[in-house]
Amino acid sequence: MASQADYKDRQFLAVIGDEDSVTGLLLAGIGHVTSPPDNQKNFLVVDNKTENSAIEAAFENFTTERKDIGIVLINQHIADRIRYRIDTYIQAFPTVLEIPSKDHPYDPEKDSVLRRVRRLFGE
């Protein structure tokens, strides 16, 4: 299914989230900026002013362009803003995981894994 080259270099977690979520996760030591001249960050801080296109571009970058990311964490309320993109995501790597944020508690109805479960049993 997945070749070794596909996963062995995937050693980072990426985060798309609000400031508190990103700060919290970076405190755990997962933040990484690649060496110059690229200086690619593995996180994106999203606020009310952030465009949906910027979120989508970051998601695209973490899931498709970069080959060193194993898990993409995204706040659920932000995932909602690019829901069509998350729901049609079928790659084996990286795994996308929705996490709660401070102002938006986790809603199982929206979680993509549990939506898959319902689809499986609803058929």
Binding site: M1, E19, T95, P100, V117
Partner: protein, 247 residues
Amino acid sequence: MSTEKIDSLLQQYLLLLNEYTTLRGSLNNLQSALYQHLARANFSAQPGVRYYGQDYYDERMQATSRLETSVSPETNTPQFKLSKPHTVVVKPEPPNEPADKANDLEEIQQQSENEKSKAQSEPSPENSSEDTVDTKEEDNHSQQPNEEEASEGKDDDDEKSKPKERKKSNEPLRWFGILTPFPLRQAQAQAKKAVEDVIPRLASLSEQMKALELEVRRERKKRAKAEKEEARLKIKELEDKVAAVEV
């Protein structure tokens, strides 16, 4: 037969789902504790700190915890594990340097010895005894600084050869200053738990469930096909019987 297989697959699936929901619960608890601690840290922020957030992120941050990704041989699905943070120890001196220093010292000593021997050989027999005494005294004077230099060099060397291993600080707490408030450290502890114990397992579970879903779908299709085939055979049998009766 295929129904039994589907049932056993679904049973496995439900077990995974159970673990997934349990872990989701603990991730929720950890995250909400994390946000509370962050809010408390911001409430009691040190003077000069506006908000513990992106303004203080280190632009050259390096990940201290990294993922170990592997593919499970049993289920052929990705498995994630977070390797524990390792501290990077930076030695200020490359290993060649002490040897060079020792060589330098030897050179200095050799030089001083050479000078000594030169000084001893220099005084010619024509010189008066007073002169020789003078030159010897001068030599003594000129030697002293050399010895001092040598001894100073030794001291320097001793200081430098002391284990001066500096820990390169990759600690994200340092971005926010040297004295960080206690709630911020509590927030970090919660985040570490979430990132080390819960998130990699949740991701692995999600992938395992995905693989099982595919398998269940495949088996269901197979079953549907088999049922169709069975029904077709039955109809054919009946048609043959009807034909036989009509004849």
